[in-house]
């Protein structure tokens, strides 16, 4: 089996598992829905400065909900002991990492699509004219988030106070990602073209590539017993 098919198998395993219970996906979507609604109460659209914080609201919903999902990712594996099984397969550790990461990315993206829809409705934002650049920014941001979130989830699943530990690990590291994503999203929703957010895109790509490489190499140390 080559690399791609190994990764695909791992993703498929997580996907079918989730499809049966849909537990994680539903929790993530409900949670992000709640976040959007709460922000709607706090900052009703139509109030003066709301436009400036709208991209922030969207990303807060993405991030908190995404953390929830990623915490489950390895939490479930650890509780059920299936991580051992996975490690026994003749698959490189880095490959397991990529498989898990892609799975997390897909789930987080599904949640984000749903969240974006709700967000557009409740905040009267029309994403369609700028859909392509918006999706690009969201994809780059989500990718970076799942890249670090996956390896930290593997670590925090083994610690006390799992979810708190995951947040403490992810947030400081994700700061440049969050800044870049929010700023770029804001510019895009304002109708600016891609060339104006060039520096933010560079940060996003640099973040994604750097930490993908580092996490891929470091993952083997995290899951060995």
């Amino acid at each position: 089996m080559n690399f791609i098919s190994k990764v695909r198998t791992i993703v498929w395993k997580d996907f079918t598992h989730e499809l049966r219970s849909k537990e994680m996906l539903i929790s993530m979507c409900v949670f992000s829905f709640l976040v959007i609604i709460i922000f709607n109460f706090a900052f009703p659209p139509g109030m003066g400065d709301v436009d400036r914080i709208i991209p922030g609201i969207l990303w807060v919903a993405f991030i908190f909900s995404g953390l929830l999902g990623m915490g489950r990712s390895f939490g479930v594996e650890k509780d059920k002991g299936s991580l051992q099984g996975l490690l026994l397969c003749p698959v490189g550790r880095g490959t397991i990492y990529v498989g898990k990461m892609v799975g997390n990315f897909i789930f987080m993206s599904m949640m984000e699509a749903f969240t974006l829809a709700i967000f557009s409705l409740l905040f009267n934002v029309n994403p369609f004219p700028v859909l392509i650049p918006l999706v690009l920014v969201i994809v780059l941001g989500t990718l970076g988030f799942t890249v670090v979130g996956t390896i930290f989830s593997a670590m925090s699943a083994n610690t006390r106070a799992r979810d708190v530990m995951l947040s403490m690990l992810v947030f400081p590291i994700a700061v440049p990602l969050i800044i870049a994503s929010i700023k770029a999203t804001g510019k895009i929703l304002d109708g600016k073209s891609l060339s104006e957010i060039y520096s933010w895109l560079k940060i996003l790509v640099a973040f994604d590539l750097t930490f993908l490489l580092v996490s891929y190499l470091a993952f083997q140390f995290v899951v060995e017993e």
Binding site: M155, T159, P172, P176, V214
Partner: protein, 227 residues
């Protein structure tokens, strides 16, 4: 021989620190625009430099631990991280104390100060990870996080800088005119702080080694008791 070196080291730490204090208060001129409070600068910058140096040591020690699996690298990483957090805290405390009388705000979202804040969080999380992780995995997890954390710093600094140039800061943080006397004073202070850093680092490493030995002894003793 070792005793002699240790005493010489302690003495030079004290001597340079006294020398730095002399330089700061009696040798360096008072800055024109800011007045006497500018003298916080020497401690502030030295602490920042040392905390960064400490985290660099954590980075290198973490890599060495992952490759060599020798506990001594882990002890070095842990000790350096603790002292780095101490110096980082100092930066974050002296910064606002300096800012308040000059610019009338406690916090400026200056790229360097903000990056220091994030750096502080990263290494506090590093220490928390060490506390929360289990026996065998603690060292490995910490090492991985130490590496990722350090690599994150330049990226974070860049992102914050781009953010701040788009929304220019109302107050500029490097509004100091430096004379050569000030530069000399800064260098002396940095040297003094570096010696202090190593002094604290040695003490912390010694403590950790002692704790390990004590733990081993206790385990052997209890085993003997149970027989």
């Amino acid at each position: 021989m070792r005793r002699w070196v240790s005493i010489a080291f302690e003495f030079s730490t004290l001597a340079t620190m006294l020398g730095a204090l002399y330089a700061i208060f009696l040798y360096a001129p008072i800055e024109k625009t800011m007045g006497i409070i500018q003298k916080i600068f020497y401690f502030h910058v030295s602490s920042a430099f040392l905390s960064f140096f400490a985290f660099f040591i954590v980075f290198v020690a973490s890599i060495l631990y992952l490759y060599r699996r020798d506990r001594k690298w882990d002890i070095l990483a842990q000790s350096s991280a603790e002292i780095g957090v101490i110096f980082c805290t100092l930066v974050l405390i002296t910064g606002p104390i300096w800012a308040k009388p000059i610019w009338n705000v406690w916090w400026t979202w200056d790229p360097r100060l903000t990056t220091t804040l994030i750096l502080w969080f990263i290494y506090v999380s590093y220490l928390m990870l060490r506390k929360m992780a289990g026996e065998g995995q603690r060292e490995t997890f910490a090492a991985v996080f130490g590496i990722i954390g350090f690599i994150n710093v330049p990226i974070t600094f860049l992102a914050i800088r781009i953010w701040r140039t788009i929304h220019p800061v109302v107050v500029r943080s490097s509004g100091i005119s430096i004379t050569s006397a000030m530069l000399n004073t800064l260098i002396i202070t940095i040297v003094a702080f570096t010696l202090l850093f190593f002094h604290l680092l040695m003490a912390r490493i010694r403590l950790e080694r002692m704790r390990e030995d004590c733990g081993e002894m206790r385990a052997l003793w209890e085993e003997r008791d149970n027989r």
